[in-house]
């Protein structure tokens, strides 16, 4: 695990990918911070929340090559034929991408220091958003890694993880549409109005229940919900396991 982590993490800095990703992140974070700073009040919490919406771009950049590139070069054979377990490979790769996020986050730490030095507040709400930021980063990284495992083409992998993350960011919108659609379908099939409404509401609720952003929104207010974090972790672990199974499948697949 350590071997994989070390290689992947260092490889970000052996190629331009890591620097470019950090540069993009620094610019975006810098822009958000500057616009808050120039208005005279800085809320680190809302900066971190804004940065979360760039996961959809940054996570695919970071994760697209993690496994797809190995498959393309044939270096994945090393994971199967040396005494490392495949799950440790998955963990090592996730940790490497996660560590890159931590490096990027140094930007925000600098912003926090500047804010506090300029008499601003760094409150419990901001701490909450930072916690959510990292848990969410973990979840999206495992999604990205999964996307990287199912193909040997980096571009395809990037697109898949982009779509996956985009969907999870738009779940609340999707739930609205799905609810409306369910309602009209039910009405077409002659279901009574109140029943159709209940049905569409149930669908709406079920979809938005999956929304990681809704689940964690109270953190910025200083309300820390353990179950929301459990949700993020469990989805992340689920995708890690799926990735592991995809790798494992190559071994026994007879297709």
């Amino acid at each position: 695990m350590y071997a994989i982590f070390k290689r992947e993490f260092l490889s970000y800095f052996r190629s331009p990918v890591g620097y470019v990703a950090i540069a993009i992140f620094s610019f975006l974070a810098g822009f958000i911070f500057y616009s808050q700073y120039s208005s005279g009040s800085v809320n680190i919490g809302s900066e971190v929340i804004s940065l979360r919406s760039f996961f959809v771009i940054i996570v695919p950049i970071i994760t697209m090559g993690l496994l797809a590139e190995d498959k393309k070069r044939g270096t994945d054979i090393l994971y199967y034929t040396t005494p490392v377990s495949l799950f440790n490979v998955v963990v090592g790769k996730v940790l490497a991408a996660f560590a890159l996020f931590a490096v990027m986050f140094i930007n925000v730490i600098i912003h926090i220091i500047v804010t506090v030095a300029c008499g601003g507040t760094f409150g419990v709400g901001a701490i909450g958003t930072i916690i959510v930021f990292f848990f969410m980063a973990f979840m999206f990284i495992s999604m990205g890694l999964f996307a990287s495992a199912i193909t040997d083409n980096q571009i395809v992998s990037a697109i898949v993880s982009f779509v996956l993350i985009l969907i999870s960011q738009l779940l609340s919108v999707i739930s609205e549409y799905a609810g409306t659609a369910a309602n009209s379908i039910a009405t077409v099939f002659g279901v009574k109005t109140y029943k159709a409404l209940a049905f569409s509401n149930a669908i709406k609720k079920a979809i938005s229940w999956l929304d990681p952003f809704v689940k964690t929104q109270d953190f910025r207010l200083g309300i820390f919900s353990v179950s929301a974090l459990i949700f993020l972790v469990s989805v992340g672990v689920l995708f890690m396991y799926l990735t592991f199974r995809v790798l494992e499948k190559k071994r026994w697949s007879q297709a």
Binding site: G40, C118, T121, V124, D218, F224
Partner: protein
């Protein structure tokens, strides 16, 4: 030889088949575990495992509210109804501090308080359910909250739940939220609605006064129903008036009003008057109002107080100063020091027709002086010479079973929106005001539940440090230098390693 391949095929597929089953099975199992765990944590442990670490516990009800709720009888059922569908994301909306707190009420009230949300277009029947006589026009209150108990309702808007700094608004045109009063408002509203013996106050309007938004809240919190009593040609004081308030009038009362109010006093009426000395009433002599208060042995002087004792001055201004409760009123609040600005001198008046005399309530230092003004609003030069102790508030009470009672304040700082919005409903002045109201209404007003207002997170920077030039510096460092250095590093590493 001929039947062997089929045999092999069956046997040879076993391992791959098993692995496939194991793979799919384990994934299905894990998804199941993830779902069950999340539903379990979400539904059952969700509430227990949610912790409010916010500053001031924004989203948790305080001990005071909790004790009040516990004191309600178990069969009490208070409904809090939001006239909108509950939003998923409350961050950055006025509901940010309201909805999570209401959840806490529901959670900690053992079913005495329920919180519901109804979209008025989807559930129009809720209007009739809450307000059958349509007295409150709930249809136009979408987005607001209704608190209902035993058929009695009160509407609370999100704006009611915050205090805004009116002075800052006056200068900048922007609302700055000063504090979060959500819990104060809701707890006291519930207190008011569940209190059977309610007393009624009328605030006289139409005398060029400012709004009385915050004292309405404060009075509500004391279970006092507040209504407006507009000045008009057929001014009548209603029968159910337990308390009349003139909150900072800048114009004198009419003859008709004087007559009605005199009549009210003679029947044992209770009046609270606050008249400060400002640019808006410098030419107003308040002759008729004076006649009224004279009946109670009090006089409103056409003179402004200058506090010359530096120990009493605030910020070095003679017109912004500390006042002290006199011995008779020292028990009104735990500290006897209050804050007055642009104070008008209130003195006792020796009324030949009455034995009632005014008792000083708030006084200045010994070194104060008065600036008197003539009828044109010009200061009389010589008037400032005499230094001494002056009074900023006086109290008078008649005799008998239910005597007339009156407070006259020479400052607006105890009841004006401008002051309360800036200093909050927990300010010492407001506490003193509440004691005065309690004095006037006697047992009829309940004790307010003293919920501390909560400060709203304030993210503003120190102006002296966050200057325009430092902002430019931030932009240059974080948006230009840092990314450019990183890109340069990328290019450097790439070219260097490329040729290794």
């Amino acid at each position: 030889m001929s039947n062997k391949p089929a045999n092999i095929k069956k046997r040879t597929h076993d391992r791959a088949h098993k692995l496939k089953l194991y793979s799919i099975g384990s994934i299905a199992l894990l998804i199941g575990i993830v779902l069950v765990t999340n539903i379990l944590f979400d539904g059952i442990f969700g509430k227990i495992l949610t912790f409010d670490f916010s500053d001031f516990g924004q989203n948790t009800i305080s001990q005071e509210s909790q004790e009040f709720i516990d004191s309600l009888s178990p069969d009490t059922h208070v409904r809090i109804v939001g006239l909108f569908s509950r939003p998923d994301n409350v961050s950055g909306t006025p509901y940010q501090y309201i909805i999570p707190l209401l959840d806490d009420y529901a959670k900690k009230s053992d079913g005495k308080i329920t919180v519901e949300y109804y979209d008025l277009t989807e559930n129009p029947t809720i209007i009739n359910e809450l307000d059958p006589s349509n007295a409150y026009d709930l249809a136009s209150n979408a987005g607001n909250f209704v608190v209902e108990y035993n058929g009695r309702i009160k509407i609370i808007t999100p704006l009611d739940c915050y205090s805004y700094d009116e002075e800052k608004y006056y200068y900048t045109g922007t609302y700055y939220i000063n504090s979060n009063n959500t819990e104060y408002v809701f707890t006291n509203t519930i207190n008011m609605l569940t209190n059977e013996n309610m007393c009624k106050a009328y605030i006289v309007s139409g005398l060029k006064e400012d709004t009385s938004f915050y004292i309405t809240q404060v009075l509500n919190s004391m279970s006092i129903i507040v209504e407006e009593l507009p000045s008009s040609d057929n001014f009548v004081i209603p029968e159910d008036c337990d308390l009349m308030i003139l909150n900072g009038p800048n114009a004198d009362i009419s003859e008709k009003m004087y007559v009605a109010m005199s009549d009210y006093i003679s029947k044992g009426g209770k009046i609270f008057i606050a008249v400060n000395f400002s640019i808006r009433n410098v030419t107003e002599r308040f002759d008729r109002l004076n006649q009224l208060v004279n009946q109670m042995g009090i006089n409103i002087d056409p003179a402004m107080i200058n506090e010359n004792d530096p120990g009493f001055q605030r910020g070095g201004y003679v017109i912004d100063h500390t006042v002290i409760a006199t011995d008779d009123f020292s028990d009104y609040y735990s500290v006897p020091y209050y804050h007055a600005t642009y104070s008008r001198s209130i003195s006792s008046y020796n009324n030949p027709n009455s034995s009632i005399t005014g008792i000083p309530a708030l006084r200045t230092s010994d070194k104060a002086s008065l600036t008197e003004f003539d009828t044109n609003g010009n200061a009389i030069e010589s008037s400032t010479d005499t230094t001494g102790q002056y009074y900023v508030a006086m109290y008078a009470a008649g005799q008998g079973e239910d005597p007339a009672k009156m407070f006259v304040f020479g400052t607006a700082n105890f009841s004006s929106d401008e002051y309360i919005s800036g200093y909050g409903v927990n300010d010492v002045n407001v506490e003193f005001f509440k004691s005065c109201i309690r004095e006037l209404t006697g047992s009829k007003s309940a004790n307010a539940i003293n919920v501390a207002v909560k400060n709203v997170d304030n993210y503003s920077l120190d102006n002296t440090k966050a200057t325009t030039s430092s902002a430019t510096m931030m932009m240059v460092i974080f948006m230009i230098i840092l990314p450019v250095v990183l890109i340069a590093l990328a290019v450097y590493v790439y070219t260097k390693r490329k040729n290794l």
